[in-house]
């Protein structure tokens, strides 16, 4: 997957942006799906698929604590993604400024 595709997948919807912003601004969140949903004013079922995709991409980590499945930010992967995003934004703006 190239950077453009990754960015498109990460920011495919407003709720995805909300989830990413929540974890990026608060990297210490360790919570259940319900807890994460609550913190962005949503219901668990409405963000379940997006969360699953972020786990597949390695942005979020899912693990079991007792009887609960918890989610947390993969800080290393988040740093890499932020770098990719920054480069993507830089290249995009450079590309657009070259256009006549």
């Amino acid at each position: 997957m190239n950077t453009g595709e990754l960015v498109a997948r990460l920011l495919a919807s407003e709720v995805r942006g909300d989830i990413l912003a929540l974890f990026h601004r608060n990297p210490g969140i360790i919570d259940t799906l319900e807890g994460v949903a609550l913190r962005i004013g949503k219901r668990a079922e409405s963000i379940e698929e997006d969360i699953k995709d972020f786990v597949d991409l390695g942005i979020l980590r899912a693990r079991r604590i007792g009887n609960s499945k918890v989610l947390s930010l993969n800080r290393e992967r988040d740093r890499e993604t932020q770098q990719l995003l920054a480069e993507h934004v830089k290249n995009s703006s450079a590309g657009s400024s070259e256009q006549p």
Partner: protein
């Protein structure tokens, strides 16, 4: 006895050098008394002055709010996190009670940061998610978990008490389970709201029993002199106490009166 210093000199003096190492300390007070500021300062001073790393576990505030609030005191929590000296964890109360399996919510952060200090903000929030009859057992379990990891802990308790109301020890929940109780309180004196703190209990150590005024300054908590001129501050209805001079005058007058009639 090893002490865990708060780095707030006057408070450490009140505690005869600091909290006892590994103790569970309850910091109780109503909203706006400075519990979070005191707790953050305890962790930041631990890192910057005593080389003791820390964890701040919050159920209520998002870390981003804590970063911002700490910044106003000149404490860069993000930097301390980047240096792996501090970890802010934001979670739901029920997850702290998940003890089945190999891991609990603190296992990974403790492994990564190797802390000596921890703040739990707050027990009152934890109590909201726990049956009253189970709270004592859950609190005992939590304190034992922290002690087993040799962590010196500050446990925050938000008391429903305003200036002008007295606070009973029973308002502090399962206060008998903790080793030390630090009470922060609003008091109304001459039509202005001031802050007071007192060490209500300190197991295994002498401590200052006097109620002291404190302020939240741009650099954090600043504890000042005891309220020597007032009585009844803890009840919420303080009144000027007799000064020493006035008391001496009474004694003198009484003595003279006695001589006159003898």
């Amino acid at each position: 006895m090893s002490r865990t210093r708060t780095g707030i000199r006057e408070l450490d003096d009140m505690l005869r050098g600091g909290f006892l190492e590994g103790d569970a300390v309850l910091v109780a007070g109503s909203a706006g008394t400075g519990k979070t500021t005191l707790a953050l300062q305890y962790l930041v001073n631990g890192i910057t002055q005593f080389r003791e790393r820390g964890i701040y576990l919050t159920f209520e505030q998002l870390p981003t709010q804590l970063y911002r609030d700490a910044e106003s005191f000149g404490w860069d929590l993000r930097k301390l996190e980047d240096e792996n000296k501090l970890r802010l964890i934001c979670t739901s109360p029920n997850l702290l009670q998940e003890t089945g399996g190999e891991e609990n919510i603190l296992t990974e952060p403790i492994r990564e940061v190797q802390p000596q200090r921890i703040v739990i903000d707050s027990l009152s929030h934890l109590a909201m998610y726990t049956d009253e009859k189970d709270m004592r057992k859950e609190l005992y379990r939590l304190i034992m978990l922290l002690k087993a990891r040799s962590l010196s802990s500050l446990l925050i308790w938000e008391a429903n008490q305003m200036a002008g109301q007295s606070l009973h020890i029973s308002d502090l929940g399962s206060s008998f389970l903790v080793d030390c109780i630090l009470l922060l309180k609003h008091v109304e004196i001459e039509s202005s709201i001031r802050k007071a703190l007192v060490v209500l209990k300190m197991r295994g150590s002498d401590h200052d029993k006097r109620l002291r005024e404190f302020e939240i300054t741009p650099t954090g908590v600043n504890v000042s002199a005891p309220f020597t001129q007032y009585e009844g501050v803890l009840t919420g209805s303080p009144h000027r106490s007799l000064t020493e001079e006035a008391a001496n005058n009474w004694a003198l007058a009484f003595g003279k009166n006695k001589q006159k009639h003898s």
